[in-house]
């Protein structure tokens, strides 16, 4: 019926656009994208109008002016700029997250092991713990802790100066404080060298172990090198005072950079990224038989990559020309600040420590600035997130270990490994690979949950930001800062967890 020859000719006929699978696909995508962008644009323009009408500023000026607030605890309780106040909040969030993650991990593993125990009572206690904690909202638990701690008024601060290392009262907990002192940055330079040497030693010892089979303790010797450097650096660090001069020179160099130059460099980066991507894309599509076989779909992808780069260039050059000068100024400032940490008068120890003290400026006594003062708020949030997260980690640990087939234990026993060695060498390495990703997720949750601190007045980023936002009437920029900070925290945690995950996988092979 059909003549094959004419069919072959027809192969080059293009269907009309509304029937072309590729084009229809892209039309739909672009249409939906347009709808979404239009909606966002619509809302944003309305917001712009409303904000102008109601005189709500959207700029970031508040970062540089006195916020007029005090922060209840942290590295600086009376910050002189809004930016500084937010920075105090960020440090508090990070501090809470790190402390919480460490404690929750320990408690979580203990609970997981309890749930695996063959001992009935231990097992039951573990499961009661999990079922109780997991099913009550974290915020309720934090409030309960805060209420319980607030009723703890056993210690009277009026009784004169306190002695000792630890002090607990309804004002909170005061611990000895270790802090960075004069010589820290110079000492840090020594430690960078130390880390390089330690790394080299570690590698060398490993190589020797592999080659000869002798015990060479690579980790121990690497750690030893670090300790030695730390100790020596404690005394010799003033030698590195000259680094300050270098940093100042870098700052000058940055200051001399023309704005337009940086704009060009940034644009070139965008364009370069797009070109590189397209090149690797073309390489992927290349077949041995000849040049790349590109479908229409591929063309569209490349065009959109180009559009993306174009948007980047547009932002840098036209939409936000201030960006480059901001980048220049802030990196110059960074180097200047760093430079000032070196050189004259910085011969002291890198660290210093102080014990808790009590002051009584007015009618009420309170912990003085010497100690590391943890408020009731800190304790409530800390107990809350740690106990809560530990319940989830416990379940994950239990699930991970149960997921290892029984045959593994039996095989390990069959080759004569002792029970502890079985656990250490066979079960745990496998279980950890199952456990780590969900536990990483729990770490993320913990970091995000610390934001509930606002409920009990612990000055984390959200609490400080909310106060500043209300004070200055600039909720929008504060919201942007929150977003960026938490995205950075999430990213950091997932990168760290991923790093260990990959490492473990390689070790296992």
């Amino acid at each position: 019926m059909t003549n094959p020859t004419t069919l072959a000719d027809r192969a080059h006929e293009k269907p009309p656009f509304y029937r072309d699978a590729t084009i229809v696909k892209w039309i739909i995508q672009v249409a939906v994208l347009a709808l979404v962008l239009f909606s966002l644009f619509f809302l944003a323009s309305e917001a712009g109008d409303n904000l102008r009408a109601s005189n709500v500023p959207t700029d970031f000026n508040f970062l540089d002016v006195d916020p007029g607030i005090k922060v209840s605890e942290g590295i600086d309780t009376d910050p002189d700029t809004g930016g500084r106040a937010l920075w105090v909040g960020m440090v508090n969030t990070i501090r809470m997250s790190i402390a919480g993650i460490a404690a929750a991990t320990v408690l979580g593993v203990i609970i997981g092991l309890a749930r695996l125990s063959s001992n009935w009572t231990v097992n039951k206690v573990g499961s009661i713990y999990i079922e109780t904690i997991r099913n009550v909202p974290l915020l309720v638990q934090i409030y309960i802790w805060a209420a319980v701690l607030a009723s703890l008024s056993s210690v009277n601060l009026d009784q004169g100066p306190i002695h000792g290392w630890v002090h607990l009262s309804n004002k909170g907990l005061s611990l000895p404080r270790v802090f960075i002192s004069d010589g820290f940055y110079q000492w840090l330079v020594v430690m960078i060298f130390g880390a390089l040497v330690a790394r080299w030693v570690h590698k060398r010892q490993t190589a020797i172990h592999d080659a000869t089979g002798h015990d060479t303790y690579p980790i121990g010797s690497g750690g030893g090198v670090l300790v030695v450097f730390a100790a020596i650096g404690w005394f010799v660090h003033p030698v590195f005072g000259f680094v300050g001069g270098w940093l100042d020179q870098v700052a000058e160099l940055i200051d001399g950079t023309p704005e337009f130059g940086l704009q060009l460099v940034l644009s070139a980066l965008f364009v370069g990224a797009a070109v590189l991507w397209i090149r690797s894309f073309l390489n992927q599509r290349r077949t041995p038989a000849g040049p790349a076989q590109l479908s229409d779909d591929d063309w569209f992808r490349m065009i959109f990559a180009g559009i993306g780069a174009g948007i980047g260039v547009f932002v840098v050059l036209i939409m936000w020309p201030g960006l480059s000068s901001w980048m220049i100024n802030s990196s110059r400032d960074l180097f200047e600040v760093l430079g000032a940490k070196f050189g004259d008068g910085r011969d002291g120890a890198p660290f210093d420590a102080m014990r808790p003290n009590v002051v009584k400026p007015g009618n009420f006594a309170n912990y003085g600035p010497n100690g590391l003062n943890l408020t009731i708020g800190f304790a409530a949030v800390f107990f809350g997130v740690v106990l809560y997260t530990a319940a989830f980690i416990g379940e994950i640990v239990r699930g991970g270990i149960l997921a290892i087939p029984k045959g593994q234990t039996e095989a390990a026993a069959a080759v004569g490994l002792r029970r502890s060695t079985q656990l250490r060498m066979v079960i745990l390495p496998q279980a950890i690979r199952i456990i780590l990703p969900p536990v990483g997720n729990q770490y993320l949750n913990l970091a995000k949950n610390t934001s509930l601190a606002i409920a009990v007045g612990y000055s984390d980023l959200v609490q400080v930001g909310q106060t500043i936002g209300n004070q200055t009437g600039k909720p929008l920029p504060v919201f942007a800062i929150w977003m960026l900070f938490y995205l950075a925290v999430s990213l950091t945690i997932s990168v760290v967890v991923n790093f260990f995950n990959v490492r473990l996988k390689i070790v296992e092979r």
Binding site: Q29, V30, L35, A44, A47, W120, T121, F304, W482, M483
Partner: protein
Amino acid sequence: MSEESGVALESATEDDIDDQPMLKPEEPSLPPGEWVQKNLFSSVFNSVLTILTIVVMAFAVRGLLNYIFSEERVWSAPATNARLILTFAYPESQYARVWVTVGLLAVLAGTSIGLWAQWAGVSAKKLCFWSMNLGSGILLAIVLTQPGVHRDAAGEVLRDADSAVLRKSFATAMSDRLVWWIVGLAFIGAGLLAWNWLGEMRRRTIRVPSSALIFGSLGLIILSLWIVNYGHYAFSDGEFIAISGRTVASTTKQPWTVMWLILVGSFFLGRRISQSQRAVSVKGLMNLAWLLSPFIIYWVILRDPSIDYSHVWTTDLPIFLAFAIGGGAILWLLSYPGIGEAGRLAGVGLVVVAIFQFAAAFTGWYPMLQKARISFVVLALVGLAASNFSGERSQRVRFVGVWVVLMALLHYFATVMNSPATVDVVSENFTGGLTVTLFVTALTLMISFPLGVVLALGRTSSLPIFRIMSTAYIESIRGVPLITILFFFSNILPLFLPDGMDIAEFAAIILGYSLFSAAYLAENVRGGLQAIRRGQYEAADALGLTSPQRTSFIVLPQALRISIPPLVGQVIGTFKETSLIAIIGGFDLLRIGNQVIPAQTQFLGIKRENLLIVAAMYWLITFAISKYSMRLERRLGVGER
């Protein structure tokens, strides 16, 4: 509602297995001596561990019991404010509305349980054990509890053994204890007796239907309202009432008794229906009723909008009719089986027009109500997919019918939401307490579910722009804490809205929760989508199904079924997360316990008691859902085909 339909699918084949034994074999039980030996004292280390744990636990439980029964505790604070905790300051004169709501839910719940439940029942053996355990628990608690500290009227602790007050107080304490001794022993005795009796009759494996157990224990609790002297604590017309030594107020026990009767009555009704021919259609109706109930209850019953009828006649109704009739006609045409490419072209045309009319909104070309604009976009999207769902006449009728219902709901709720409430509730236009907690949970889940499914499809799509958009959305939402999103929606969102458009704080909060929850939901659904084998897609393609058809008939039904366990987890998560309303200024369950009650002059600063009661309420609900999800998981695992 996904799990609802999942259950429906299974119960179509098995009808009533209430009295059938579970598929899981029961653990072979050891004699008590061996059990103790094996589980508690298998080695020296284990023995030490056991004893240590028991001692520590005994002290902990003792501390807790003393804390709870200490006379310093003001349990009358939550008791007096029970109404506040449940509904916040809902006006007393309008309370009938609350009872109508509870009654409706009782009808729905009872009927659904009757229709769907396939509980395995509890074996008599287990019941005996429960009874004995409960009895021993009570005895243990009495032994561990201290006989309390006694104070005189001035609040000084009494130490003098001759004090008449102390003697009297001690005597009361002892008689209370005696009652509990008797109760504990009675439970143990009943368990033992039943155990022996059933053993003689060789009927220990006989099963008691779970429904009887649940309704029975609910009934017992309600009966106790009539008998036990819980005391009458309340605020009535602002007046503080505290009468101990009598039963609760009749305005409490009478309605709850009626509710229990309604619940049980509708259970039997559901049972009847499930055995009749109409079971399937009634089940469909029940699903729809559940789906609509939160909206109707919230906006129609609890809020009673005062609708501006002149506006309805002149604006709302005409717009609705235009879209229902005009849109329906367009969809009728587009779903004509033979329409082919013309349909596709018309669909694309509709979308283009929709984009333009949407874009015109902010160029100010022509004024148009937001409702109409949004309806137009919905129409265009439905129209684009219309040809995929065309078919015989009845199919097209159903298609257009669904459209009309969708429009009706959309326009109805848009109108109702923008009308002021008739029921005047303190601050804002929503109630509070447990009510608001439950409503936020329900509405959030209903709104975020479709959104989450769409996002999951986008993220797994082969179309790069969709994938990038969905991924960016999901990841940025998941990267930030919920509280910041809620702040955004309660503080910042109002700034974004055009003039004349207002959003109630309640709606803003729900929007915030929904958009947040959708990102997590999407990840759960994505898990299900990824579990579907490639062969399923290929088979659908090879049959000539279009990709919307492939998604809705093949991929989603399977993916959602796989995702049921994590989705139930998400329900629990959302329920717990509603407690954050307390931070952003709503009067939810938690806020009332933590701030409202401690601010009352009678209970100034009383926090811990309320918080513990609130925690217990959260715990009960969450624990119930998670137990249910475990059962569901097990059954899905067993029923794996």
